[in-house]
Symmetry: C2
Subunit: 495 residues, 2 copies
């Protein structure tokens, strides 16, 4: 159909803009020199503006409207492409271009300011940018609709179908069942011989081990690259170019290992999406929550399991004999699953992790739904840390300044991290019923795990909705009980 | 003036397109995974097409035409911006957009094919792409004008004002005066104790020395970055983002050192351009020839001088004591200036270097002016090597496949390399009259050299034409006699 070809041509042009903006962003986050950013932000905002103009052009709107009237002439995938395009269009069509360009420029600059503010431990340096970003987000939502529940709009953007009501239920379950359990566990913790956790590990050798892991997980080097950045992330333009970063901290070996496996999880997902979606709007993962379910699955269910280290601990010891030869496998396993009150989300253990997310969710809810004075945010953050984790940060880089997300305007994103962990647990129990998970991990047959996930989840890209995937895979609707069960089983055995 | 603002707005948008395309190209050449290229080439060609449409838009043409009628209302720099824009416009305005898009896609793919062909030593793999590129270049020239002297059009693109006639004179001087001199020198060469030239040097330590050189030459890290690539190059978007690459070959220490200093020369030039040009079309160096004069100046007049190593040889020895402790400064100096018949242009010594260029010039002239069967090119290349340098490559990666330029469509570029060396010599003698060059180098005061070049050349960006710069700096028109004199003086003393 000629009309659909017209649609595809505009989509492809959008993809082209998306790709060059992505490449610039990869460059900005991994190697661009700091003095380039003012000009860069200025010029990138022009390209974002061009991309925006195309995305809301009369022509494109007309094509979509007409396609919606002729859906019966399209096949199933084509229908999905059109519906996704319509949804994307509705998100932005009422935002004035200048607003969009200014916002894109603000975001480009803010991330640099945040980096510096974090380095200088100076919330006040970041605050004016945070303020502008929040105001811009609110304004954008107002352009889109007159809904009062602004935070719901953001939540839905990152996880279709999710609302404050649903997240409240989810986090209530966590508060009810997990928070007391965590307190129990923290009470039980004893002094163990675990100085190896924070001893020095040469960062070059850490990198060698991450590269070893890339082979273990069957990451395809011909379609990606490993690099370093302050904040680990996965980046992709299509299934043929899926890169990720880690950071190496001399006294935090576990950081590069588990952030590495985490990002590998994201990357495997992207690399395993059917290439037929590469040049469509159905490429990329199904949602933030499903994406996070995959990274958490690989990081925690696989990477923090006893079986995984039965297969790989010897290798790690061979790289760090001095630090690990006297550490037994069991000690090491307990070490990587050590539960502790800690400040930094990305370094947090699996059990306390959702509490870090809970804090962010509650603060974002305050910002967008309840109203809060930005001057108070560091204190609010610290008070919540005290409430849930019984510790208080003494500097903002350990508190409110630790994450990149807000500087990039990504409000509504954090809750998907906890949701993803919960999805992961639900998928985990299904997988265990289907294949001999423990044996496969022990035999270093990650390929079999990849194949299972490819078949059930990865291949579909975003041609299925998150809750549809979960239903198809597990046969059930989303239920947080699996997450609670998983954590309680694992940590009752450990503590 | 409102009209000039309109002009600047379009220029800025052009800059934005140029920047994202540049960033993508930097990424392609330094780290993109190989499987990404088909989609990437496809999508980048769309962005190139958008950029092209803008560059030839009716609106822009109209603005330029009207500005040309109102030149008396503009200041000197504004006039130059308009004239440069007009010249750029004339180059492409008659090329159909599809032609341009297809070409951009072809070039994106060809560079990958060339890389593989070089690796596989397989000219036939590259030949069909070479053929298409040449045909496309010829067609482009035909769109621009009905001139029969197609090669002149290409020569002028890279060095305004240069023609086959002028280059023939230049290369004739080289053939007449240099070729016999080189033959003399080659006859005189004796077996020297220079095994240190090709012994193994750890590549990580080589990198450390290149980083040392970056400090020596006062390269600004906050406005750039060093990376590795198959073919060393300098890359910039404006004076705040000027990066370069080298490659490290274990058995060719001099490659990383002198390619490093060479690229540093290009990079210093770009970093020292007045920032007022950053967002104009007068940023970037004045021409390929002037650019190359700067890189060659730093590489040869500075980097291959005895004085330079009086200041830095101890440092190099401290990094490679095993390999160099028994090598005297004089032996080392003779080593870095060893004249030899060699296959690879980028590794060639300073004296035989122009003969490598001569070969490429004559072949390009055949392709575009005389007609030649592409099947014959490898044999022609090898025969010319035999004629001028008395050696014959046995594989095409040592011959016709060695350089990236043709795969990027850059015909007419090579001659500027030899021209740049000749400009450099002319500038060198002027500088010596003005400041105590030898003493400054010996005292490791490269800053003083940078300042001199900044004041006389760098700061102006491309707001002056190449021959205008040469005239302003040296007080004379271009004269190859300085180049011949320089080489004869230096190498008569050595041999």
């Amino acid at each position: 159909m000629e009309l659909f070809n017209q649609f595809k041509a505009i989509q492809k042009k959008q993809k082209a803009y998306g790709m060059v903006l992505s490449i610039a962003s990869w460059d900005s986050n991994t190697e661009a020199p700091k003095e380039c950013f003012p000009h860069r932000a200025d010029l990138l905002s022009i390209i974002s503006g061009e991309s925006f103009s195309l995305a809301v052009s009369e022509e494109y709107q007309g094509v979509i409207a007409e396609l919606l009237n002729r859906m019966d002439e399209l096949d199933e995938l084509q229908k999905k492409e059109v519906l996704k395009a319509k949804k994307s269009l509705d998100k932005i069509v009422k935002i004035p271009k200048q607003e969009y360009v200014d916002y894109s420029k603000l975001i480009n600059l803010s991330q640099r300011v945040w980096e510096e503010a974090k380095e200088n431990d100076d919330y006040d340096q970041f605050k004016p940018y945070l303020k502008k970003i929040i105001e811009a987000k609110k304004k954008q939502i107002e352009f889109r609709s007159d809904r009062e529940d602004k935070y719901n709009v953001l939540l839905d953007d990152f996880e279709e179908g999710m609302t404050m009501e649903l997240y409240d239920q989810f986090f209530d379950a966590i508060k009810k069942d997990l928070v007391p359990f965590v307190k129990e566990v923290l009470k039980k913790k004893k002094d163990e011989e675990d100085a190896f956790i924070t001893t020095a590990y040469d960062t070059k050798k850490q990198k060698a081990f991450v590269e070893y892991l890339m082979d273990v997980f069957h990451y395809d080097y011909n379609r990606g690259r490993l690099k370093e950045s302050v904040h680990p992330f996965t980046w992709n333009t299509h299934s043929k170019d899926v890169r990720f970063t880690v950071r190496y901290l001399e006294n935090l070996l576990f950081s590069s290992i588990f952030a590495g496996i985490h990002e590998l999880g994201h990357a495997l997902y992207e690399q395993q999406i059917d290439e037929k979606f590469d040049m469509t709007n159905l490429n990329g993962g199904a949602s933030m929550g499903i994406h996070e379910s995959q990274s958490r699955f690989y990081e925690n269910m696989v990477g923090r399991s006893r079986m995984f280290w039965e297969a790989h601990y010897d290798k790690l010891k061979s790289i760090f004999p001095e630090q690990l030869n006297k550490v037994s496998l069991e000690q090491f396993y307990r070490g990587i699953n050590k539960v502790d009150e800690s400040f930094i989300r990305v370094e947090a253990d699996e059990l306390t992790y959702p509490l870090h997310i809970l804090i962010r969710y509650e603060i974002e809810r305050m910002i967008f739904d309840e109203g809060v004075d930005l001057d108070e945010l560091p204190a609010i953050w610290n008070a919540k840390m005290k409430q849930y984790l019984n510790i208080e940060p003494t500097k903002d880089s350990d508190g409110i300044l630790q994450d990149v997300h807000w500087s990039a305007g990504m409000f509504g994103y954090f809750p998907t991290y906890a949701l993803g962990s919960a999805y992961a647990a639900q998928i985990y129990y299904t997988m265990r019923d289907d294949i001999d998970f423990d044996a496969l991990i022990r035999e270093n047959n990650i390929k079999a795990i990849n194949v299972w996930l490819e078949e059930k989840i990865h291949q579909f890209g975003s041609s299925k909705k998150p809750l549809e995937i979960l239903k198809d895979v597990t046969g059930e609707a989303f239920d947080p009980k699996y997450y609670i069960r998983y954590l309680k089983e694992k940590y009752s055995e450990l503590y």
